[in-house]
Symmetry: C2
Subunit: 225 residues, 2 copies
DNA sequence: CCAAAAGTGTTTTACGTACACCCATGC
DNA sequence: GCATGGGTGTACGTAAAACACTTTTGG
């Protein structure tokens, strides 16, 4: 078998919406190379793991979230990066993964990290390796997938209001959407939202209804930014 | 550095439209494993290559096409596959690539292949490794990208008629489109098609005009199947 | 002339946009 | 009552779908 050998790692673009802004989970590296730099969480693929196994394991280690048969949350592969000089230790291929999660408590670092934190995606500075590029592609993928899938609900907890969902779109797209047209659009899309009988009291104004995710995954016609 | 080591290969889903049908380039393997089976063309990533380098090199070896600064044709990464048992020789990660080319002459096999051929995608039987899955994802990616990009033109030679372009859509989507609405749609999308002054004579009926690709890459609003 | 294929115009219908309006709660 | 946010109704414009029609060639 020809060809030289690579170490294979997975790196995660873990996104959530906190306080109406899109945030990404970053870790502070506790090892060389890039000791002390911020980076995407990730890790090497173990001998009997498939790529998705590594990604879910590392995601669970960093956040406690279990996306195995996820009721909330979402995990998908992005792309692979293998420039010859991307890691000073030698040839490392990294497979990017995109994870969408509801707003969780502050993380407790796992793996080789000394610290980890949710950071607004538009305030992320320099990252280790080629992680800025992976992050950019992850954010772009999330933005476009909101248009034609029901993935925005992956950013919400199991029950949520239409306004919660609209805030997700507004945070990810950095736009504002007409609340009235948005309401009609999402409630009239078959299988997107399943109404519950619960109303949320305690806030100002008319109490909103809680919804759960429906079975639909695609959005025809798409939501427009 | 922890983690075990992988061989890294690239496999290509090379698509073209021949005789109004979508075809894929397959090779007949001349080595173990899967000796004699049909497979996607591909090869291992060499020591100083990035993934795209390997993909373009192997594509050129199999077809003669140069997608480096492609006037015609297109090349993009699909996804990576690394199930522990996907290759009996050991751990091999394969990065799938999608290539779209205009109709070319029959290929001359390169690499480890003993034969290669264009096969209609809906007549492809069993393939080596997990290549059926890679092919399916490549075809699906091509189908959806035709909706919201101008990539259909990558299946055409440098100059082509509106009908040539419509035949591409019809072959990839296996639908029929209204020629009149299609005409208006593509000619009115800014930057999709640049008219030339040449008319194609010799056929039956009114001679069609030749067009070149314009600078547009996205299609707003999208083409609908 | 007729057939065939390219290309234009017109009508209908669906849906996005904008915005007026009503509903149900806290204070 | 009044402010606030949830939710509904309605008019308008843009564009897709369907299809009649004109244009330009070959036989």
């Amino acid at each position: 078998m020809r060809g030289n050998l690579f170490a294979v790692a997975v790196n995660l673009v873990v996104l959530t919406v906190r306080r109406h802004r899109l945030h990404v989970l970053l870790i502070e590296r506790g090892e060389q190379p890039f000791l002390g730099s911020w980076a995407l969480p990730g890790g090497f693929v173990l001998p009997d793991e498939d790529l998705t196994d590594t990604a879910s394991r590392r995601l669970a280690e960093e956040t406690g979230a279990d996306t195995g048969q996820a009721v909330v949350g979402y995990l998908e592969q992005l792309a692979s990066y293998a420039a010859p000089d991307r890691d000073p230790r030698g040839r490392v291929l990294s497979v990017g993964y995109l994870a969408l999660l509801p707003d969780l408590p502050d993380p407790t670092p796992g793996g080789d990290a000394v610290a980890s934190a949710w950071r607004p995606v538009d305030e992320v500075g320099e990252l280790a390796f080629d992680h800025e590029r992976i992050l950019a592609e992850g954010v772009e993928r999330a933005r476009s997938k909101l248009e034609y899938t029901t993935l925005a609900a992956s950013f919400c907890s199991a029950e949520f209001t239409v306004t919660d969902l609209r805030r997700v779109y507004e945070a990810v797209w950095r736009t504002s959407l007409d609340p009235r047209n948005f309401q009609r659009k999402v409630t009239s899309t078959e299988g997107f939202l399943v109404p519950t009988s619960t109303l949320v009291t305690g806030g100002r104004g008319r109490p909103p209804r809680l919804f759960r995710r429906g079975p639909a995954t695609a959005l025809h016609p798409p939501m427009l930014r």
